[in-house]
Symmetry: none
Subunit: 243 residues, 2 copies
């Protein structure tokens, strides 16, 4: 059975303008890989309803899951929840269970509940909340779209809350081989290896380290024995160098 | 007048699988911001022709510029140039000027030109080359799509080569000088050169080849005569070595 597919939508002007460097994509990519869900596409869009809605509708129809990051805080430019409701054509309002979670958190921490904070309890109709153990304000899943915060500590906590609920496919095994040679030397042997193991995915990731060219070759597949056989075969091809 | 708009397309399984953390998006976002070009969308797709072509065609019609990163190396999974040609419906083949750049670079560095490396001279018809002072193999611009390497040092050098052409300012001229000396020997003379030609931008891209340190120095400016004078001056500083 093929693994479930996924896309990610990262929302925020601050990343596109270069002010902030995103870290959530890399975190999610690693976690999905471990969970056997194939991340197939990532899009970054600004804090604009039209752009968010268009991307959501393209991605939610093309993949099994869509994970979003950003735009669910208390300020006026946090419009992700409204955009998700609009994309699905459902109403959105303050929801009692979300409001209660916030009220309890603020009361416990001596923080005032105000109109801005109450916006974070606006949840589209039909959604399931995603727990936020860091700062309480919940994310939510609506259909196959999972809406999470942009702040990395909160995003990561929400991913940890959410992932066990989603079905993973057969776990992938991977093996990595470091070959300290320029890719031009590696390409021929790698093509032969790919032909020998058609059931595996073999990728070459070049690097320059201290001025020297090399490549990490990554072999992936659901058949752990084939992955190991391909790894051994590749090391044989560059004796004393590959490892 | 509104700023020109741009999108970026990052190509590579290794980023979506979480194996590699992309840094090119953040670099480009900062550089475009400085140049007054609005980065409006970024997409990450795998090394698959269909996904690359679909994303390219969506983005190149929606924005003034599209910048791509990744998939132009010598290995079997480097399919970006072919995908760009397919998206534009133009032929692609080894181009003589690109082949000559590679042949000269490999001859100078004692590297064998083989079939895998020759793939990097495949350029879609009608494209303009983007200079690569780090490892020679060029990028290219076809229409409003600018195709660059994924290795960060090479991507960054290509962005530096390309951006002055796009900003509507005076076009920049560049000259490259190869100095087979460690950067520690070069730094003093280079600082003197920068002081002598304050209107030029002078960058040093270090390398190690067969255990020897060297650097490609790239001189850029809008005054072509000054660039040529600085180039001649730099070669004088390392007689019999710089070229």
């Amino acid at each position: 059975m093929a693994n479930p597919t996924a896309a990610m939508l990262v929302i925020g002007d601050e990343i596109l303008s270069g002010r902030t460097r995103d870290s959530n994509m890399h975190h999610l990519a690693r976690k999905l890989s471990e969970a056997g869900i194939d991340l197939r596409e990532v899009r970054f869009v600004p804090d604009e309803a039209e752009a968010i809605i268009a991307a959501l509708n393209a991605l939610r129809h093309a993949y099994d899951h869509v994970f979003t990051s950003g735009g669910i805080g208390p300020t006026h430019d946090d419009i992700t929840a409204d955009a998700v409701a609009a994309a699905f054509g459902v109403p959105i309002d303050v929801r009692e269970d979300a409001r209660a979670i916030l009220a309890e958190h603020y009361a416990r921490n001596g923080i005032e509940m105000n109109a801005a904070r109450l916006r974070m309890a606006r949840i589209p109709e039909g959604a399931t909340l995603i727990e936020n153990p860091v700062s309480a304000a919940p994310g939510f899943s609506l259909g196959n779209v999972h809406v999470m915060a942009g702040v990395p500590a909160v995003f990561e906590a929400m991913v940890a809350s959410l992932l066990p609920r989603l079905t993973g496919g057969a776990p992938l095994t991977s093996a990595s081989v470091d070959i300290p040679r320029p890719e031009g030397d590696i390409a021929g042997p790698l093509a032969a290896l790919a032909a020998e193991f058609p059931q595996l995915s073999i990728g070459s990731y070049p690097y320059i380290r201290e001025g020297r060219f090399g490549a990490n070759v990554v072999i992936r597949g659901s058949d752990a024995e084939a992955v190991e056989a391909a790894r051994a075969r590749l090391i044989e091809m560059f004796p004393g160098e590959a490892r």
